[in-house]
Structure formats: C-alpha cells, structure tokens
C-alpha cells in the first residue's frame, strides 16, 4: 500500500466508525500505558469501540498524525472528530463529559477516577515503544 492509500484507509476508518481508537497494541494486549488507560476508560463506560493498532507499520502512525495534526498515540475519534489523547480523555472521563460526548450512560459502578488500565505488554517494535 502506498502512503496515500494508508492515509485514505485511515480517513475511511475514522468516517465509518462512530468511536474509533488508534492505539499501540490491542485492547486485550495494549503495548503502552497511555493506550491501556484509554481502553480502560472506554471499557468502564461499557461503550463499544473500534480499535486500530498502529504498531504493525510505522506509516500508520505517520499518516494518522499528518491527518489529525496530533503527534502522539493514542488518539480517540468520535463521529469523525478527534476527541483527544489520553490526557484529554482522562480529564473528560473524570468530569463526566466523556460519557455525554460519546452519548452513553455511564454504568452506576463506573469508577469516578479514571481506571489505571492493564499493565502494558512489551511492544513488538522496540523503536515505537519509546515514542510516547
């Protein structure tokens, strides 16, 4: 796939999925603490979401960041709009705004503070692992 095709595929994925998270690793096996925390917050709200692992090809991250004008991973999108990275999602989770924006009712047992998330698994690509 050319870089342009990758960018088009990313744009299409963002357009086609109500809630989509670009992350390092998978929800079951996050490869970075920030991705793990973001997954844990979405799971605490019990909202379905699509996850894309950016690690398999460095061009995914490169094209995603060029498209979103956002340098770091994870990146959460809702209805085609960038909600933010882990810090913004955490702030919005704790204020209750995240549930509102995503249009979900937070379960009564959802923690008030952002959940810590699973311990990250080692990333398959060493070089990406340090790109916080």
């Amino acid at each position: 796939m050319s870089d342009n095709q990758i960018r088009d595929a990313i744009a299409e994925a963002i357009a086609d999925n109500d809630i989509i998270l670009f992350m390092k690793g998978s929800p079951d096996r996050p490869a970075c603490g920030f991705s793990a925390r973001t997954v844990a917050m979405l799971q605490a709200l019990e909202t379905p979401f699509t996850a894309v692992d950016i690690l398999p090809d460095p061009r995914i991250r490169q094209e995603l960041s060029a498209l979103s004008n956002w340098p770091t991973i994870p990146q959460l999108f809702h209805n085609g709009e960038l909600i933010g990275g882990c810090d913004i999602v955490t702030e919005m989770y704790e204020s209750g705004e995240l549930a509102t924006v995503l249009g979900v009712d937070a379960p009564s047992d959802a923690p008030d503070r952002a959940p810590a998330g699973a311990d990250p698994a080692p990333a398959p690509l060493g070089i990406e692992n340090r790109l916080g």
């Binding site: 340098p71 770091t72 960038l82 933010g84 990275g85 810090d87 913004i88 702030e91 919005m92 916080g132």
Partner: protein, 73 residues
C-alpha cells in the same frame, strides 16, 4: 535533556499570557499544567496542539512524554 524549567520557559515564551507548572522526575517524561488567556475560545484539542507545537519533533525524542492539562486563565 531539557530541565523542567526549560520546558516551562519555552511554553511561556511561545504562548501569549501562558503560565506553566512543569514537573519531571527524569527529564524525559514531563507533566505540565498550562494556563493561558490564549486558550480562550479554543477546544481542548486546539489548546493541547498549541502546547505540543512548541516541541514539534521533540515529542517522542528528547521529550518521551508530555502529560498535559490546559486551562483558560
């Protein structure tokens, strides 16, 4: 490796009216609370972009991670 003070002064000189409180344990991972009048009317994403733009190319390099919180002052 940048010190917390360097990161603070770079944010404050790049963003009009900004006051930054920057912490670091290791001069690689930083956390910053930035208050600025320039954030008024901007979304959180836009506010964070203003700060991250100060360190273009260094995020993921000399600055491994910048944990960020922004507020309108």
């Amino acid at each position: 490796m940048p010190s917390a003070d360097e990161v603070r002064s770079r944010i404050e000189s790049a963003i009009p009216g900004a006051e930054a409180d920057v912490q670091t344990q290791d001069e690689v991972h930083f956390s910053a609370l930035v208050r600025a009048s320039a954030f008024d009317g901007l979304s959180r994403v836009q506010q964070h972009r203003l700060v991250m733009d100060v360190f273009q190319g260094e995020l993921g390099g000399a600055i491994h991670a910048l944990e960020l919180k922004t507020e309108v002052s």
